[in-house]
């Protein structure tokens, strides 16, 4: 025992000492209760009709039946899946490519400048980013359309175009996360043994061959971890981004589960129905998180917990 050298503690001091540890934990437990545990119990609201006064009445699957028979729900589900696919799968290779390119830079100054600028948008709120993008994409004065004008193209009102808006979401997500999401790859690149490259060079391998036969296989575990952990958030699709970038002209193309849950819940005050939609989303999300997590564990040998 590690404590063998210590004087045997009396029951009283043990009680005081370990009680103190519990006291340290109390504030966190209070927070967990208020913002997590009690609300978790409150999800039973999905099976009840909400009453402002008196106990809510159990109604079984009524709200889920309503949900699955509502055409709006399937439109929203479809949008969620499309936008998530773009932001998770289509986006996936970009930070990797960015990291590989940064890694080729010889000038430390250039490297620092590129990284410092590329990481910055990650720390801006989606309200700020929406403000920046709405201004940048403005059909009359925005930089994007000015650039189009330079090459003789007509202006496009991206923010109100149903065919463009999802690409605006994709582009602004890339703008925000390209640099930041490349950090994990840059860190992995630094762990590659330089001897591998040296012996490959001696065998006459060029830059592309070294990338293909050494860098990519060495990065594979990181790539797989990133991909599967992101898949766990497939049902979310990024509430803050969509919430700040959508408007009445494009709502049918970008309304996702989370914005729908917000609207029917807090704006239309259909508390039970909204909670049912949330529970559906949460259940699929949970399966995805647990599934992807155990997959990540199997592939890389370690998970998040």
């Amino acid at each position: 025992m590690r404590n063998a050298m210590l004087k045997p503690r009396t029951l009283r001091t043990r009680f005081r000492q370990e009680g103190f540890l519990l006291v340290l934990l109390v504030p966190a437990l209070v927070y967990f209760s208020v913002y997590h545990l009690v609300p978790m119990a409150g999800m039973t609201l999905a099976f009840q009709d909400y009453r402002i006064v008196g106990p809510s009445q159990f109604v079984g699957l009524k709200h889920f039946k309503m949900l699955f028979s509502s055409p709006a729900f399937f439109d929203v589900l479809k949008n969620t899946l499309i936008i998530s696919s773009m932001k998770i799968i289509l986006f996936f290779p970009l930070p990797l490519l960015f990291a590989l390119m940064v890694n080729e830079l010889r000038s430390v100054l250039l490297r620092k400048f590129v990284q410092a600028t590329a990481y910055l948008p990650h720390f801006l709120s989606w309200v700020v980013i929406a403000g920046v993008w709405i201004s940048f994409l403005s059909p009359s004065t925005g930089g994007a359309n000015q650039a189009r004008g330079l090459v003789g193209l007509p202006p496009v009102d991206y923010m109100t175009s149903k065919s463009a808006i999802r690409w605006v979401l994709f582009a602004s997500e890339t703008w925000r996360s390209l640099g930041w999401d490349s950090i994990i790859y840059l860190a992995a690149l630094m762990r590659i043994n330089p001897n591998l490259y040296e012996s490959a060079e001696m065998d006459g391998a060029g830059a592309l061959q070294k990338a293909w036969y050494i860098t990519i296989p060495e990065l594979a575990p990181t790539m797989i971890t990133v991909l599967i952990l992101n898949l766990g958030f497939f049902m979310s699709a990024g509430f803050d981004q969509v919430f700040n970038m959508m408007n009445d002209s494009v709502i049918s193309a970008v309304d996702i589960l989370d914005t729908y849950i917000y609207r029917i819940g807090l704006l239309n005050m259909q508390y039970s129905f909204s909670t049912a939609a949330n529970l559906f989303k949460g259940a699929i999300g949970l399966v995805l998180i647990l599934g992807t997590h155990s997959a990540a564990k199997r592939v890389t040998g370690k998970g998040l917990w």
Binding site: Q115, G131, V132
Partner: protein, 300 residues
């Protein structure tokens, strides 16, 4: 990949130059829209028309937009609210998170396995908006800054990062303090916190940015515009284009200036003010969090 010693071929040099240019283009795409807003916000009101979407330097110079904002009581109030939420919130975050991380990493904590399970459950299950909203309402926290300050008091991921940090403190160090008669309180304050300073500073920066950027909880929990944080005012003014809420309430500037004002420039100034604190602490974030990655690392 630094393979020194070998002279690089022409193709190699061209390849690298192309990569450098492409990455510079990425930097420009990030910077130009922001510099454009800065230029717009600082341009002379009479010359705002000359500012195009690709302008990065102000046309003329004027601080009128910022003076208009500074004279607006609602705007000033929102900055004060954001500062209160950020400072108080971050202090509580660090205190509660480090206390919990310390307790959870002590083997003698009664019910430790149960509490760890609880942490995982919290990480995996999202209770969702409405149940949380109803709890906040029942507790009487509606329209109180506390509902916003206390949101995400403990970020479970940060808690786990800090726990890993505490776990790495050598047991011998703690044992030695124990033999000298130190209790858990002394060990926490005198050994763990000083050792974890860099980790706590980094978490503080992340928590701080989170609070400063928060707008959504504020929008659902606060009903009194006097309590709104800056990001929420920004959302109303810039994203929802609700000019009346900000300008209408703050008619404190002279009629002449009001007539010359450009809403686009005023919106740009609001955005700049909202990202300023993040820009100020950004060098610290780079220093603490990404230093190794940015310098290309030290290789054996």
């Amino acid at each position: 990949m630094k393979h020194k010693g070998k002279p690089s071929s022409l193709a190699d040099t061209l390849f690298r130059a192309a990569i450098g240019l492409a990455l510079l283009a990425v930097s420009l795409v990030v910077l130009v829209p922001m510099l454009n807003l800065l230029a717009l916000s600082l341009s002379d009101p009479g010359r705002v028309g000359e500012v195009t979407g690709l302008t990065i330097l102000p046309k003329g110079f004027s601080t009128v937009n910022y003076r208009v904002l500074a004279a607006n009581p609602l705007f000033v109030r929102s900055i004060i609210n954001a500062i209160i939420i950020t400072v108080v919130g971050t202090a509580i975050n660090l205190l509660v998170t480090s206390m919990a991380a310390f307790a959870l990493t002590r083997e003698r904590l009664p019910g430790r396995r149960f509490f760890m399970l609880l942490v995982i459950v919290i990480m995996v299950f999202e209770p969702g908006l409405i149940p949380e909203y109803l709890v906040i309402k029942k507790l009487g926290l509606m329209n109180s800054l506390w509902s916003v300050i206390l949101y995400k008091t403990v970020n479970v991921y940060y808690l786990i990062i800090l726990m890993r940090f505490f776990e790495e403190v050598p047991a011998s160090l703690i044992e030695a303090a124990r033999i000298d008669g130190a209790g858990y309180g002394t060990i926490f304050m005198k050994i763990m916190l000083p050792l974890a300073k860099p980790a706590i500073a980094t978490l503080g920066l992340f928590y701080g940015v989170f609070h400063w950027n928060e707008y959504f909880r504020a929008s659902i929990y606060l009903s009194d515009p006097d309590k709104y944080p800056l990001q929420l005012i920004l959302r109303q003014f810039v994203v929802l284009d609700d000019t009346a809420s900000l300008i209408g309430s703050g008619a404190l500037f002279s009629y002449d200036e009001a007539a010359r004002l450009d809403y686009g420039a005023l919106k740009a100034s609001t955005i700049i003010v909202a990202m300023l604190p993040v820009l100020i602490i950004y060098p610290l974030i780079l220093k603490y969090y990404t230093k190794g990655v940015m310098e290309g690392g030290v290789k054996e």
